[in-house]
């Protein structure tokens, strides 16, 4: 996990990831997290007034990791379609690399009441806005058809979410298969041609 600024806060979050992922939200107590983190009750309550705050802290932490990785990867690409493509790879790879956090975010967050549902929507919206901004840039650069980028951004968010949730729940479909397939589907959906898709694929013969 990428490190947050405060080492105690980070130890609490690390312990919470393990507990929530293995035992579920409801069957984890703040006392469990105090024990596992090797910190103190006072320290935990100083950083997080309640179990719910620990959970929301984790969700934000994951969203921030993902945003940081996206910004970094996108900054290195020149053209709109390449940026969209690399963003999609980074997104799927980040979920794979942080599977436990992803599980907490995607599974435990559903079914935990209105607060979490609002958090889920807030984070979806954050990423939908990022997707739309980059789709708009690609359209402006003439790389893409003139598409309804807002609807496309929602569609992408939903598609990625559904595939990742299924994989986190069941271990299927395995990322090595799902990632390239989903990437092709989403790139095609915005009018990227088969030739362009071939050129974007680092494994394809050029």
């Amino acid at each position: 996990m990428s490190k947050s600024t405060n080492p105690t806060r980070q130890r609490i979050l690390d312990a919470a990831v393990e507990r929530f992922a293995n035992n579920g939200y409801h069957d984890t107590s703040v006392a469990d997290i105090v024990d596992d983190s090797g910190t103190s009750k006072g320290a935990v309550y100083f950083h997080f007034p309640s179990k719910q705050d620990i959970f929301l802290g984790l969700v934000d932490h994951f969203a921030t990791i993902l945003e940081d990785r996206l910004s970094e990867a996108i900054a290195q690409e020149e053209s709109g379609v390449r940026r969209v493509n690399v963003a999609l790879s980074v997104c799927l790879e980040t979920f794979a690399a942080y599977k436990k956090l992803a599980k907490i975010f995607l599974i435990q967050a559903t079914g935990l009441g209105t607060v979490f549902e609002e958090k889920r929507r807030e984070i979806h919206k954050r990423f939908i806005d990022v997707i739309q901004r980059h789709l708009d840039e690609a359209v402006q650069e003439g790389d893409l058809l003139t598409i309804d980028t807002e609807i496309a951004a929602y569609a992408w968010m939903g598609a990625i979410n559904e595939v990742v949730i299924e994989w986190v729940y069941t271990g299927h479909p395995e990322p090595a298969r799902a990632l390239p397939a989903l990437q092709n589907i989403l790139l095609r959906s915005i009018g990227v041609s088969e030739e362009q898709i071939q050129q974007l694929d680092p494994n394809a013969n050029k």
Copy 2:
């Protein structure tokens, strides 16, 4: 709402839709539903042992309406791509026509604990299987590229879900805009060409 076989059961479900949609699941009691339905406490408990059973009954009811409409529409189309296209229209139109039920299914079902999350996944899986079966048929008929139909089915389910949830929550984007845009995005995603998409559009000049 399409009618279920038992008129009392149907009256209970009709009353429950209104109550859940207007007041939310948590702030609705079985007594409210008894009152609104004009039936009796005994009748309600005969059909539904608990409030949760009423809710799950509604979710199943909506899924069945949608499946019936899909089967009917699909049976009238000849080619694979046309069947896929009409299925998508029917799906989006059904959510629009049954907005209150959709709201209950999509919003209230999240955040209500593990039972509902499992029901949501079960229903998603039911429709993912339907989508995949029809995509497979279209591929076999040579209408489509050889795509990974399972991943495509997950992607479609997620995309539709995300757009519909946003619309049910916020009233935006309005269906008249979202439906054709989403349809084009999803058809493109499986390799249907711009020419074919034009031909499928009943409003396009032929």
